[in-house]
């Protein structure tokens, strides 16, 4: 089960993920990604219980989308487990490389 709390203040989009971000729930996440008029996206993971490869792919898509549209993307309140998964797969490295440019 996945719940997304979405908040837009000025041009900042905040998404708080609660529950399981996986193959079965990914459409719910996609429904909340609308970048028109947005200059900053913050995704909070504090209440995320589990993420699978499809969920990681969705987060990467937001990172790439941000890079292509000059929108900064921040990943906040990651659990140690989620940090480890993002670290092993290379999500942080991709984020850093895109931030530095040239991709």
């Amino acid at each position: 089960m996945l719940t997304i709390n979405k908040l837009i203040v000025d041009s900042k989009l905040t998404l708080s993920i609660k529950g399981v971000l996986d193959y079965a729930s990914i459409d719910i996440f996609h429904e909340h990604i609308d970048i028109i008029g947005i200059t900053k996206i913050i995704i909070y993971f504090k209440e995320m219980e589990f993420i699978d490869s499809t969920g990681i792919g969705a987060i990467l898509e937001v990172i790439h989308l941000g890079n292509e549209n000059n929108i900064s993307v921040e990943l906040e309140d990651l659990s140690e487990e989620a940090k480890e998964i993002f670290d092993i797969t290379g999500v942080f490295q991709i984020q850093e490389a895109l931030r530095k440019g040239g991709i």
């Binding site: 193959y23 490869s53 499809t54 990681i56 797969t89 490295q93 991709i94």
Partner: protein
């Protein structure tokens, strides 16, 4: 070539939804057969060690991948991988990954070079499809025991020696295939001894859940391996599968499950060739 039978179509030559469903089902089963044959084909054989590998898709077909590739220098290249997602889309990309691995293995000198070549070959396709693949690749030299490996976003295998998990194995990590272009993947190396066990796995094993929502977890996997270190590679594989089945208590499998077991040791090997590993089904 298979031609559609006349009764696949109605009088207008257009398939009904029921007929389309049957066609789709038939084609998925054919795709499953293709994937299973490619995955469970030739296994390497060495006088100095045993190999085993199995992939159990959560659906009819899956996105996990493992492969063995004997090199001309006598080493055996091993890869395990996990394509993002599940089912047919993941299976299609698994075949793409397999082709990239086999092609890269022909022309590269180390696991790191192989992964770099694979990423160069399929990066654009994966980006276009918003997908990625994690892989761990290793070369094992049956004569020296050297085990060289590189990693693109995958979990490290479990290394066991004398009944306990090796904790001081050099860590290596790199970005998943499809993550960034022009990546270099560093090689690390350790020396394996008789009776050592290297267990490659995908996350479907450690993330398998039971009825209370508890995960199988790496610690439980390591415990099962430690308890059964004396067994043959294929028996260890069977025991791990059984442990997961018992743990999940009959719940439907949520993710593809894949494992490769490399057990070092001479005792239960039959000599086929003095110098070089051979393939056998």
């Amino acid at each position: 070539m298979i031609f559609p039978k006349d009764d696949d179509n109605n009088s207008d030559g257009v398939q009904t939804s029921e007929e389309m469903g049957k066609t789709l089902q038939r084609e998925i089963h054919m795709a499953r057969n293709i994937q299973m044959k490619l995955l469970n084909g030739e296994k390497p054989y060495s006088t100095n060690g045993q190999f085993s590998g199995i992939s159990i898709p959560a659906r009819l077909i899956g996105g996990d991948y493992y492969d063995f590739y004997p090199l001309y220098n006598g080493k055996i290249r091993i890869i395990i991988g996990d394509v993002m997602g599940k089912g047919i889309p993941a299976a299609m990309l698994m075949i793409l990954t397999r082709g990239a691995f086999r092609s890269a293995s022909e022309s590269t000198q180390s696991p790191g070079e192989t992964i770099s070549a694979m990423n160069n070959a399929i990066y654009r396709d994966l980006r276009t499809l918003s997908s990625f693949v994690t892989v761990f690749c290793a070369d094992w030299d049956p004569h020296t025991g050297e085990f060289t490996y590189a990693n693109a976003g995958h979990s490290l295998p479990v290394f066991l020696r004398k009944g306990v998990e090796l904790q001081d194995v050099p860590q290596t990590k790199g970005v998943m295939l499809g993550g960034l272009p022009d990546q270099r993947y560093e090689d690390e190396s350790i020396l394996l001894h008789d009776h050592d066990l290297v267990f490659f796995y995908t996350d479907g094993i450690v993330e398998a859940k039971n009825r209370t929502g508890e995960m199988f977890k790496l610690a439980r996997l390591v415990h099962v391996l430690e308890e059964n270190l004396e067994q043959d590679a294929s028996e260890i594989e069977r025991i791990v599968v059984e442990s997961i089945t018992q743990f999940t208590q009959g719940l439907p499998q949520r993710d593809d499950i894949t494992m490769v077991t490399l057990k070092i040791g001479k005792e239960k090997s039959e000599i086929v060739s003095i110098n070089c590993p051979v393939l056998r089904s």
